[in-house]
């Protein structure tokens, strides 16, 4: 593949987005859809080619520069592509899911009046995501990082007439922006320490820098730990890890295809990608790695527990996404980056499938999202029903579906890591898996089984989605079934050809380590699967056989139930800590500080002086030629006098 083709791969969605966005009536909705789908499908085909070239045929990685933006002295900002195995895998995920979501949206958005705008945003997002994953330096990565945030903001708030959508889009933007400060600091610190921002410049000099300390606010820190910590903060925001997770469930206000593309398969995994891309750096920062693992484990547990009690079908899947991202994080934390990316890939397929299937259900139920108002619709949705089961089974980790391979590998790796840390991660992960199985089954049972709880009118309209929606789901279903088999070779670090670096002594750094992971005690190996099957059975029992149990149980453990139901009160805590105080502080500074002090003596005062001064000066401009000549001569005299005396 030539470098031009790589550039085309990245830039086509942008071109399509611009044309679709600015084309207006001249190209029409149909034109906009055709152009964006054409662009992203071409990108997909090129990605497959790139994947075969680099990942399958073991080609060497490609780095090419598109153009230099600024080059002054030490600062060199350029845009280009870096395609190695890590990028190749991501390319398949991003363009694959994006292409399917584009096609699916043709059906899902068929009644929307501003479809051209929607497709333009989708393609813009795709471009930004591609720019992020192909970035050869931190600046382009940052550009893509912010760009996907922007696209996410635009798409969550796509139905901008809905108050809740507007609020959700702002929340998503602000929360991720707070975390982005971490990424900015990481970029700046990297530049200060390494003097370059390109990955090929940073990674070789890691060992020389590793010993240095960096003084920051009067304290000295080991410099790599500091950069890694900043990176982690950035990654946590994008990937909705515990503490920064609050925006993700609210983001479900956006159209469902958006949730599938951005908030399940691609953008939210950018944090995991960042960890993997910067693996050489993280491998030099042991303490931060531990922190990554802890953050991931907590998120996995925490989000899964909330998923147990949600009523909104999309929110359950959103919390599930959050929880699965936690798995990927703690995999990175034990240096199993390969496992994290493997899980990222399988997860992208089955989670996008789940979202699209949920969208199909919502579409069928006349835009109803509350699962307690569904039920008994499996007969009417002959394709969506099995497809969604496959997605759920893959999520639960039931063999032979994709999730089984990747999730079990992560748990086994955690166990094999050993020590208190490994054991804790293993237990947390298994507990999360248990809950995952429960809420997945709960979604399926409440939605499709039992007696219909929707109104007659709604039930009358229930219908299977058109082929343009079912087709993409089938494609993703193939991925959800096969990705695990086809991809499990990825778990071997050597497969990555240097795209992922693992330090000596870390578990997956060697073949022996991989063997160790495969040969953990049988009990540890099968415990998660057994527990998953058990909790599925419980779900079956309480939601199909004895559907009175859930309500009674909730009442019996009320404090715990409301704790979980209210999402551990994190939102309330933030409201109290940040939102209210920030508002009060803002009001105070505005009224007292700005208006009465700064404005009076600053801008307003300056403006007053400036305008009066200008008026006075204007009077010099009399229009009389002898005045002008006089001033000229005075100027000459003044200069001569000054320099001769």
């Amino acid at each position: 593949m030539t470098t031009d083709m790589y550039f085309a791969l990245v830039l086509l969605p942008l071109a399509a987005s611009v044309v679709a966005g600015l084309g207006g009536k001249r190209i029409g909705d149909a034109g906009a859809m055709a152009i964006t789908i054409g662009g992203v499908v071409t990108s997909l085909l090129l990605s497959i080619w790139a994947f075969i070239d680099i990942a399958v045929l073991n080609g060497s990685s490609v780095e090419a520069e598109l153009y230099t933006w600024i080059s002054t002295g030490t600062l060199n900002l350029s845009f280009g592509v870096l395609i190695d195995k890590l990028t190749a895998v991501m390319l398949i995920v991003v363009t694959g899911v994006s292409a399917m979501v584009h096609i699916y949206s043709v059906g899902y958005m068929s009644h929307d009046p501003s479809r051209a705008r929607f497709f333009s945003y989708l393609s813009l997002f795709t471009f930004m995501m591609l720019a992020l994953i192909t970035a050869p330096n931190m600046v382009q990565m940052f550009l893509g990082w912010e760009g996907v945030g922007l696209a996410s903001y635009l798409l969550i708030g796509f139905w901008f007439k809905k108050e809740s959508a507007n609020l959700a889009s702002m929340k998503a933007f602000i929360v991720t922006r707070v975390a982005d400060v971490g990424l900015i600091l990481a970029v700046l610190t990297t530049f200060a320490v390494f003097g370059t921002l390109s990955f090929s410049g940073i990674f070789p000099s890691l060992d020389t820098v590793a010993a240095k300390d960096y003084v920051f606010f009067g304290h000295s820190f080991p410099v790599l730990e500091l950069i890694a910590l900043f990176l982690l903060i950035g990654a946590m925001g994008k990937s909705a890890q515990f503490g920064f997770h609050t925006w993700l469930p609210d983001a479900m206000e956006g159209p469902t295809p958006v949730s599938a593309l951005i908030h399940a398969a691609t953008m939210v995994t950018a944090g995991v990608f960042l960890l993997a891309r910067m693996s050489p750096l993280f491998e030099h920062a042991e303490a931060v790695l531990t922190l990554v693992a802890i953050v991931g484990a907590i998120t996995a547990m925490f989000a899964a527990s909330i998923g147990l009690v949600q009523r909104d079908i999309k929110r359950v899947i959103a919390y599930s996404t959050c929880s699965q991202l936690g798995y990927m994080f703690f995999a990175c934390g034990i240096s199993a980056y390969s496992a994290a990316i493997f899980h990222l890939m399988t997860h992208a397929f089955f989670k996008a499938l789940l979202f699209l299937a949920a969208g199909s259900v919502i579409h069928a139920m006349s835009d109803e999202q509350d699962m307690f108002k569904m039920g008994g619709i499996r007969k009417y949705l002959p394709y969506t029903y099995p497809l969604m089961w496959i997605g759920s089974l893959a999520l639960m980790g039931i063999p032979p579906f994709a999730g089984f391979f990747s999730k079990d590998f992560i748990l086994e790796a955690a166990y094999a890591t050993g020590g208190d840390m490994g054991l804790m991660l293993y237990i947390f992960g298994t507990a999360a898996a248990l809950m995952t199985a429960f809420y997945s089954c709960r979604v399926m049972f409440l939605t499709f089984h039992g007696k219909p709880r929707a109104s007659k009118e709604v039930m009358h309209h229930v219908h299977e989605s058109p082929w343009v929606m079912v087709g993409p789901m089938m494609f993703l279903c193939v991925g959800a079934v096969l990705a695990g088999w086809l991809g499990h070779g990825m778990t071997d670090t050597h497969w990555w050809n240097g795209a992922i670096y693992i330090a000596e002594g870390h578990l997956l750094g060697s073949h022996e380590g991989l063997e160790e992971v495969h040969h953990i005690p049988l009990l540890a190996k099968f415990a998660p699967l057994v527990l998953v099957l058990f909790s599925s059975w419980v779900a079956y029992w309480v939601y199909i056989k004895r559907s009175d149990i859930p309500a009674r149980f909730a009442k019996a453990v009320d404090p715990l139930y409301s704790w979980v139901m209210n999402k551990w009160y994190v939102d309330e805590l933030y409201d109290l800590l940040f939102v209210r105080t920030a508002r009060a502080l803002g009001l105070m500074l505005w009224r007292r500080g700005d208006e009465n002090t700064i404005n009076r003596f600053g801008p307003d005062g300056m403006a007053y002086v400036t305008t009066r001064g200008s008026e006075a000066l204007r009077r010099l401009q009399t229009g009389y030629i002898y005045h002008y000549a006089f001033i000229l001569i005075v100027g000459v005299m003044a200069l001569i006098t000054w320099f001769i005396l």
Partner: protein, 505 residues
């Protein structure tokens, strides 16, 4: 120095000046064509031919550069009086481009006011020739000849709308004050010649670099320096020698204003840099102080007075004064980076100025063009395209990143800081904040005020596509600022590569 009449005339020595020679002949040709054709045909054909000659001149210049005539004929044209280096090449590129766009913007306005005479285009061509000689001058005489050729054409152009009171007043004012400045310049030159005994830049540079024999000499040299700087400051309209600018800009027919605000500004600024950095480099300490003061005054007056203007052409006059002030910051830096910054700034300034005037020239009702800022009110609704182009360019003018105007200011200010002129750079930033006010006011008026003026946009004119082109240019330059930067960098380093400057340091 060898007297001219002793030198055997070597035809090949003219080779580096081939573009100028061509343009001079072309101007004569234009006159003949104009005289022998009638009425509207005359102005149309002469206008077209003038455009062609400017373009052909550029082509010849480029060819001459590729063929490297300067290297092939090291004696230079006409005995060292002329130099065709990268710096001159860059300068002439700007001048010719400004000339071409000014001509393109002319016919519509002139026809609507029934003053489309063919002499106009001949004068523009001759003025362009004068400027090209100016920026290539390597001798006081060449410099003066070029400058006067340009100035005379401009005096006539300013008064071109003879039966319009303001226009003739503008022409007269410009002529009287311009002559005064020319007189000062001549006086300065003669003092310089008297003290050094040489008129060539190289010779003066070497003599001054070797130090002056006694104190009387140095007083005379200082006076000469002041007079020359004043004259050049007059041409770039630096404060306090700027008084003519607003009146002339306002009075002259708008296409003439476009021309005066672009090409001569660039030519005078570039000439000033050559004179200061080559023959007068030894007096660096003195001229740096002078220019620092001029630069502060210019930035200040330009920015402050632009705020209170109601007439757009007057506003743009003050805006151009302010921009000259910012450019002087780069000149004062006294380094290659500073010169490079000024060169980049000039290219950006030219693009923005042409764009702004093109927008104004595309807005008219019947035969009346927009005059005051209030006329722009509500433009976002009546002419959204024009308003958008104007907004883009004014934002760039205000220096809002990432638009290209930001880079212009950034380069000159950072060069000043690198040269240790931190306070000058800080004042520059403060003044650019004030300058941002009048830029934003234009946008505010266009987008938020209700207006009465309803422009007719149904007849496409050159002004419309030039406005679009300039706005697009602002965007493209913002992205490819690197290319411009490199070109300017080559030009700047050629200014510093001459031997006698190296010898001094």
């Amino acid at each position: 120095m060898t007297p001219f009449n002793m030198m055997p005339f070597d035809w090949f020595a003219v080779a580096p000046a081939l573009p100028e020679v061509f343009l001079a002949c072309a101007a004569m040709g234009l006159l003949i064509v104009g005289v022998f054709s009638r009425g509207e045909v005359a102005s149309r054909s002469v206008g077209g031919l003038a455009l062609v000659s400017l373009v052909v001149t550029y082509v010849i210049m480029h060819a001459a550069k590729v063929a490297d005539f300067q290297q092939a004929f090291p004696k230079g044209a006409v005995g060292f009086m002329f130099v065709a280096d990268e710096f001159a090449f860059y300068a002439k590129g700007l001048i010719l481009a400004a000339g071409v766009f000014s001509i393109l913007l002319t016919p519509d306005f002139m026809n609507r006011n029934s003053i489309n005479k063919f002499e106009y285009y001949v004068l523009i061509t001759l003025a362009t020739l004068g400027m090209m000689i100016m920026v290539s001058a390597n001798d006081l005489l060449a410099m003066y000849v070029g400058m006067e050729l340009m100035s005379f054409c401009l005096y006539i152009l300013a008064a071109f709308w003879r039966d319009n009171l303001k226009s003739s007043e503008a022409g007269l004012k410009y002529f009287v004050l311009g002559s005064l400045a020319s007189g000062l310049m001549l006086y300065g030159m003669s003092l310089l010649y008297g003290m050094t005994g040489d008129t060539s830049f190289d010779g003066i540079g070497i003599l001054l670099g070797n130090g002056l024999p006694n104190i009387e000499h140095s007083v005379a040299i200082t006076v000469a320096l002041v007079l020359m700087i004043v004259a050049m400051a007059f041409k770039v309209s630096a404060v306090p020698f700027h008084m003519w600018t607003p009146d002339v800009y306002e009075g002259a027919p708008t296409p003439v204003t476009v021309f005066m605000a672009t090409a001569p500004k660039a030519a005078a600024m570039l000439l000033m840099m050559r004179v200061l950095y080559q023959p007068l480099l030894a007096l660096e300490d003195q001229w740096m102080q002078m220019l620092t003061v001029l630069s502060l005054l210019t930035m200040g007056i330009g920015s402050l007075l632009a705020i209170v203007q109601t007439n757009i052409k007057r506003l743009l006059a003050y805006s151009s004064i302010g921009n000259v002030g910012f450019m002087l910051v780069g000149v004062v830096a006294g380094t290659e980076d500073g010169v490079q910054g000024v060169l980049v700034y000039l290219a950006i300034y030219l693009t923005m100025t042409i764009g702004l005037f093109a927008v104004l020239l595309s807005l008219r009702r019947k035969n009346v063009f927009v005059e005051t800022i209030d006329d722009l009110a509500g433009l976002a609704r009546t002419a959204p395209g024009a308003a958008f182009a104007m907004m883009l360019i004014t934002f760039s003018l205000a220096g809002v990143p990432p638009l290209v105007g930001f880079f212009g200011k950034f380069y000159v200010f950072s060069a000043a800081i690198a040269a240790g002129q931190t306070w000058l750079a800080i004042s520059g930033v403060l003044f650019s904040v004030i300058a941002a006010y009048y830029c934003l006011r234009i946008v505010k008026v266009m987008y938020f005020d209700e207006g009465k003026f309803r422009p007719e946009l149904n007849q496409p004119s050159n002004a419309q596509w030039i406005a679009v082109l300039a706005a697009a240019g602002v965007l493209v330059m913002s992205v490819f600022i690197d290319v411009l930067d490199h070109t300017a960098g080559r030009a700047a380093s050629s200014l510093f590569r001459l031997e006698h400057t190296v010898a001094r340091h």
